[in-house]
């Protein structure tokens, strides 16, 4: 489905269904440099389970037009604009990495519009190394390589995908390579500069679930303590063997975990 928000085209994957205002809604938000396809399995699942699924391409990503937004706060406001355009009063927001910060910000700043959040592969603050930022700013392929390498657990450097026939490293690299020049840098910088996460987390009033990869090297579990302490009564699932790319590395376990809040 394509809609217009702020005079730009926004692509929302909806499992080829129209929005049914009698159903609960779930917004899926991808991470840096990615697009809606990272949520295909989960979107299909929750669509079959009676939800409106809206898996978005952020501005400048995938099939959405426009320029990437600079700040997490802007991205959260934009997600709310998407809900406005679709006539959805309240939704759950599921986000991965950068998308998880957007979910957090949605819940904190637009609490009346958010019924639950799930933060997948997350932490806050989410500092990004100079090596990645510099490479991304230069549109150097090394940025894709670093994020792909560190985005998977060490064991998954060799694959072992439960989704048959898909080489998870290759598929992730191709997704980064499809991103438009400069997009990854904008996203990485937004992660790096979003320093209000802990302060905002305290304001989360809806059910909140953190799904963490036990072997995540980009947002390690040990770095999530402050976030876990700030969010009131968070649910936390640590998935063994998974790194940062949890939707790919542990798709079934993630799906099961999401049912706690969706």
């Amino acid at each position: 489905m394509r809609i217009q928000v702020n005079n730009e085209t926004v692509y929302c994957y909806t499992n080829s269904r129209d929005i049914d205002h009698n159903k609960p809604s779930i917004v899926f938000v991808h991470g840096s440099g990615m697009d809606h396809t990272v949520w295909t399995l989960a979107s299909r699942h929750f669509a079959r389970h009676g939800n409106n699924v809206i898996s978005i391409d952020l501005p400048g990503h995938g099939r959405s037009s426009g320029n990437p937004l600079a700040r997490v706060e802007e991205m959260a406001a934009w997600v709310i604009s998407v809900l406005d355009t679709l006539g959805i009063n309240q939704a759950a927001v599921v986000g991965h990495s950068l998308g998880s910060l957007i979910a957090l910000e949605c819940a904190a700043s637009h609490g009346d519009r958010v019924r639950a959040i799930a933060m997948v592969g997350t932490t806050s603050p989410m500092p990004v190394s100079d090596a990645i930022l510099n490479a991304a700013e230069a549109d150097d392929h090394a940025a894709f390589d670093m994020l792909t390498q560190w985005g998977f657990s060490k064991r998954h450097q060799f694959g072992g995908n439960r989704n048959s026939g898909i080489w998870m490293i290759g598929n992730t690299l191709r997704l980064y390579e499809r991103s438009r020049p400069g997009v990854l840098f904008h996203d990485m910088r937004a992660c790096n500069e979003y320093t209000a996460g802990i302060e905002q987390a305290v304001k989360v009033a809806c059910p909140a679930l953190l799904i963490l990869g036990a072997e995540d090297r980009l947002t390690p579990v040990r770095g999530t303590r402050a976030l876990q302490e700030a969010i009131p009564s968070p649910l936390v699932e640590v998935l063994p063997g998974a790194g940062h790319t949890i939707m790919v590395e542990a798709p079934n376990a993630m799906l099961d975990a999401l049912h706690q809040v969706l």
Binding site: W150, N161, S164, W167, N171, N252
Partner: protein, 436 residues
């Protein structure tokens, strides 16, 4: 954090796609010789059928042993995914029927494996898919043959049997300028000798029966998708970019992005045509791939020794190996295949067809059979066997003469191979002498 460094080819050949078996801890990839897999509950079953969860339903569609092989070849080639098929021919067919239907057209190299040539020249036209064959050494010929209904450009990395080196970068440029993908058959080169995706190819087909396995005990094929081709941008591939009624109007490019082609091939072609690989075959191929680099290096080394020997023989009128002086693709081979041009090559004997037959019949270390890429050395006379369906004109276009002999050099001691070849040359010489 240390700088990122992807695992190398040898490491991937041993490990990619495999994890110690979660049920038993077995280090080797187990053979999951099971037709189907139990569902823990009805919702789980529904979610597998509806592509919501990762897992296995039925071994025609996917199988845990096959999945390891598929990931391994995708990793070795640098693609997004792969499908294991019943044979190399099944992989070629799967690619074609995934991308096009009746009324479509293919531009292919004229120097193809006989089975591939037959599929394209005689069988597919019955289903409304035509092919124009062109000189593999002429990228402009590929461009000239492209029509509005062309949907695929196809060639072999090393043409069969005359080893024309496919100029992948140039032909990929031609293909992409026309909004078309380039598929290459990399059976004789394997990812050890060439990485076609890095050179611009979009799809790779393997007969895994050959060098990937090395042992000659299994039939299997592999189809690998680079994930680099823009199917939507091309606008010529509605099977990938428009709703598919066979799966609740799923649009593959929309839901699977870079993996659209390989997912459609699995969800439709593998499901409906059913040319899946047996799990035991996948296991056997995995055993071969583990030693790919070691074997391919030795294959090439032995081949260089044998071609040098043959060049010195008076009865040998031509040795067709791209590394040799006089081969028209020598410079291109150095550029695209710096580690070697494989271990399959042809040479011409004086004395024509009778000399060729006498030569083959006199060999004892070389096995006379219709295969290549075995650890054992192999020999065949193409004009009377693998390419017998081709008329004289097509044979000539493929660089095959009446006295052409094709060798697949194995891993034996080279001195024993040379002794065997000398025996064959003596027998051929007697026939040639009798003819004079």
């Amino acid at each position: 954090m240390a700088a990122p460094d992807y695992p190398g080819l040898d490491t991937l050949a041993l490990h990619a796609g495999a994890q110690p078996d979660p049920a038993t801890g077995a280090r080797a990839t187990p053979i999951y010789q099971s037709a189907s897999f139990c569902f823990p509950d009805s919702d789980y079953a529904a979610s597998l059928f509806n592509i919501e969860r990762a897992g296995h339903v039925y071994s025609r569609l996917s199988n845990p042993t096959n999945a390891v092989l598929e990931e391994r070849i995708a990793a070795l080639e640098g693609g997004v995914g792969a499908i294991a098929t019943a044979s190399g021919q099944a992989a070629l067919h799967l690619a074609i029927i995934t991308l096009m239907g009746a009324g479509s057209h293919i531009v292919a190299s004229a120097a193809l494996y006989g089975g591939s040539h037959n599929l394209l020249a005689y069988t597919l036209p019955r289903f409304g898919i035509e092919t124009t064959f062109v000189d593999p050494r002429d990228p402009q010929a590929f461009a000239n043959a492209i029509r509005d209904n062309t949907r695929l450009i196809f060639g072999e990395t090393l043409g069969n049997p005359s080893l024309d080196v496919l100029n992948i970068p140039a032909i990929a440029e031609v293909a992409h300028a026309a909004g078309l993908p380039l598929m290459v058959d990399s059976t004789t080169t394997t990812p050890y000798l060439i990485k076609p995706f890095e050179l611009g190819a979009d799809i790779i087909q393997h007969s895994a029966t050959k060098f990937l396995s090395g042992h000659g005990i299994v039939i299997g094929g592999l189809l690998v998708d680079s994930g680099q081709f823009d199917w939507e941008g091309s606008g010529k591939f509605p099977t990938l970019s428009e709703p598919y009624e066979g799966f609740h109007n799923l649009i593959f490019t929309e839901e699977f992005g870079p993996a659209a082609m390989i997912q459609r091939a699995r969800k439709e072609g593998l499901r409906d045509f059913g040319a899946c690989m047996a799990p035991t075959s996948a296991f056997h191929i995995l055993q071969g791939i583990e030693t790919l680099s070691v074997r391919m290096g030795r294959h090439v080394e032995n081949t260089r020794t044998i071609t040098a020997f043959l060049l010195e023989q008076e009865q040998v009128t031509r040795v067709g190996y791209p590394e040799l002086d006089g081969h028209p693709d020598q410079a291109l081979a150095k550029e695209l295949l710096p580690k070697g041009c494989g271990a399959v090559f042809s040479f011409d004997l004086a004395g024509g067809r009778e000399a060729g037959i006498a030569f083959v019949d006199a060999l004892s270390v070389f096995s006379h059979l219709a295969n290549i890429g075995d650890a054992k050395s192999l020999v065949i006379h193409p004009a009377s066997t693998t390419h017998h369906r081709m008329d004289a004109k097509a044979l000539a276009a493929g660089g095959i003469g009446e006295g052409t002999i094709r060798l697949s050099i194995g891993l034996e001691d080279p001195k024993d191979l040379i002794a065997d070849l000398k025996q064959g040359l003596r027998a051929a010489g007697k026939v040639a002498g009798g003819n004079r």
